[in-house]
């Protein structure tokens, strides 16, 4: 019998790392603060004690060089996992990720694989501000040769991290700080979840909502409230950003005739636009409404909680956008009464006390 229990997503990630390291001695873990007392929000706690300091490493503040060093190790028989506490820091490794990791296999005509996992965390709230709260999935997804995933559930967080570590290609594994604290059913044993498949989280007839990462949480809340009011939306958790599982999305849009994409990032040049383009190219005739993107305004995240109040679209914003877009006559009061967020807008859970 499969043993399942509720654990937080941070614990699920930690368990995935531990099990991947147990199953394959080539797996190694490195990052700024990996063995420190905070253990990357608990996702790496105790791993150096368990696996020793020749498999679990802290590292110098040298993101690009260390990424290259991990690529060098990956092409020499190791399977490194490198972690950055914020995805913003990974911008310093764009050279190594884009020029080397993504292309090493290709440019040498398939002779060498790069089994590398880059864990990056999207920050939000509590004043993370312009340089600690970017959601850069589209930048990574633009690059052929990388795989890019954004799990939203604890089950997927564990299964996709194990799959990423077993994969022979560079995988950018994007976490969301607001998902770390959410508890979820997670099996005890190791298992993998495909890195290229979206999943329908809730079926519905009136519209397809494709959501990424934390926006899946908001989309499911919105869908539940809308269902009470007679609007039946399908929620797809995209899970993978590169490749995009357009098949699942297009198949859904063909049934519902409406597409709304809820992204954690900016609208311009974002992955939501890519989904809209893909659906328009292949299922234009099925669309009864123009596609809609619900994304961040084209501004870096401000810090003051007074300024972030309307920056992130939440379930209520999303539900309003969907209802209006579908031309429904539900009243705003109906939505507000169901979705008004009583937790302060800048923390993931009421108990969150900062600082990071």
């Amino acid at each position: 019998m499969v043993e399942i229990r509720q654990i937080t997503q941070a614990e699920a990630i930690r368990e995935a790392l531990e099990q991947a390291m147990l199953e394959d001695e080539r797996v190694m873990l490195i990052g700024e603060g990996v063995p420190d007392p905070k253990g990357i929000f608990g996702t790496t706690s105790g791993l150096q004690e368990k696996f020793g300091n020749s498999r679990v490493f802290d590292m110098p503040l040298a993101e690009n060089g260390m990424t290259g060093i991990c690529i060098g190790a990956a092409i020499s028989g190791m399977r490194p996992v490198i972690v950055h506490q914020r995805i913003d820091f990974a911008l310093l490794c764009m050279d190594q990720l884009v020029n080397n990791a993504a292309k090493w296999r290709y440019m040498f005509a398939g002779q060498v694989n790069v089994p590398l996992v880059v864990r990056v965390i999207v920050g939000r709230g509590w004043g993370q501000g312009p340089q600690h709260a970017q959601s850069l999935q589209a930048m990574f997804a633009h690059v052929p040769g990388l795989k890019v995933v954004m799990p939203s559930s604890g089950y997927d967080a564990k299964g996709m991290l194990i799959a990423a570590i077993r994969d022979n290609n560079p995988v950018i594994y994007i976490e969301h700080r607001w998902l770390h604290g959410i508890s979820d059913d997670v099996p005890c044993e190791p298992y993998s979840v495909p890195l290229d498949k979206a999943v329908i989280r809730r079926s519905g007839r009136h519209a397809t909502v494709v959501a990424f990462s934390f926006m899946v949480v908001e989309a499911l809340l919105a869908a539940k409230a809308l269902a009470d009011l007679g609007i039946d939306v399908e929620v797809i958790d995209a899970r993978s950003v590169r490749p995009l599982d357009m098949e699942t999305i297009v198949e859904s849009v063909k049934r519902t005739g409406a597409l709304i994409v809820a992204d954690t990032s900016w609208k311009t040049g974002g992955i939501a636009g890519e989904i809209v383009a893909g659906v328009s190219e292949t299922a234009f005739g099925f669309l009864r409404h123009p596609p809609l993107r619900v994304a961040l305004p084209d501004l870096p995240a401000p810090t003051s909680h007074h300024l972030t109040r309307d920056y992130y679209p939440d379930a209520l914003c999303l539900a309003r956008a969907i209802a209006t877009h579908l031309g429904s006559d539900v009243t705003d009061a109906d939505l507000v009464s169901r979705l008004f967020r009583t937790t302060p807008h800048d923390v993931p859970q009421r108990e969150f006390r900062g600082p990071f």
């Binding site: 190694m28 020749s54 498999r55 590292m59 110098p60 040298a62 690009n64 060089g65 260390m66 990424t67 290259g68 060093i69 991990c70 690529i71 060098g72 190790a73 990956a74 092409i75 020499s76 028989g77 190791m78 050279d95 190594q96 020029n99 080397n100 090493w104 296999r105 290709y106 440019m107 040498f108 005509a109 398939g110 002779q111 060498v112 694989n113 052929p144 040769g145 795989k147 022979n168 290609n169």
Partner: protein, 316 residues
Amino acid sequence: MKNDIEALYRDMLRIRRVEEAIADRYAAQEMRCPVHLSIGQEAVAVGVCAALEKKDGVFSSHRAHAHYLAKGGSLKAMLAEIYGKEEGCCKGVGGSMHMIDLEAGFLGAVPIVGATVPLAVGAAWAARLRGEDKVIAVFFGDGTFEEGAVFESINFAVLHRLPVLFVCENNLYACYTRLSTRQADRSIHGVAASCGCNTMSLDGNDVLAVYDAARSAVSDLRNGSTPYFIECATYRIREHCGPNIDDELGYRPKDEVEEWKAACPVARLQSRLDIQPRDRLADMEHAITQEIEEAFACALAGKTPNQTDLEGYLYG
């Protein structure tokens, strides 16, 4: 075997003749990619690689032909690659700036300067973690030494005492820009020493000096020493990129060019050769020419690579 003067001479001469042949045929417009020739700099490649064993690894960058050949990379695969053929070491995906021959321990060269320095450190790190007895050497230029990733790599290699041999070919220029307009007035090897490397600074056109330095460094590295950084003074005789001599552009002082031409590493070693009878020198030239002719013929006769194979190279 490798350490005898005749073998060092032969390896340098072979690289020189290969690159001269590339330059001679470049105008035919069949090698349709940038080429960065090492003519004048062969001693660094040959001296260092002679001190390495086959199991040791080498990385390089845009100016890689000499390093690749000195480490034992296949000449045929190299020329086929420059001609964009299926038989090339990257089946035409790479070209001159992307050399690889895993069999020979030539682990890769790519044109982003500084890109392979961390990879070399990572390969040495993996060797350490896997308990393999391997030294990894990485060649780069004086300009590349300005890249942040190089410092990041040196720091980590020293921190973990990894078996890395950093080889800086200081030819005084990055493209057309002289060292003194790019770097403060201090030595490159001095900076490496302050990072904790064992350093040596030497005449990079003296293949015996390079070989001796590399041999002692490699032997220390095998015994667990901190990384070595050797700075080799050398000079590129032709243009930065392309087949020609570009002295007429005037970006390098005339007397400097003449001085370095006179210090040609191949000619210098020839004067120290003791080959009797002298005919054997001609035989050597002849054998090299034949090998080169044959490799060019193979490259020209090579198969056209298939565009449909590209997608399969992306993910493994």
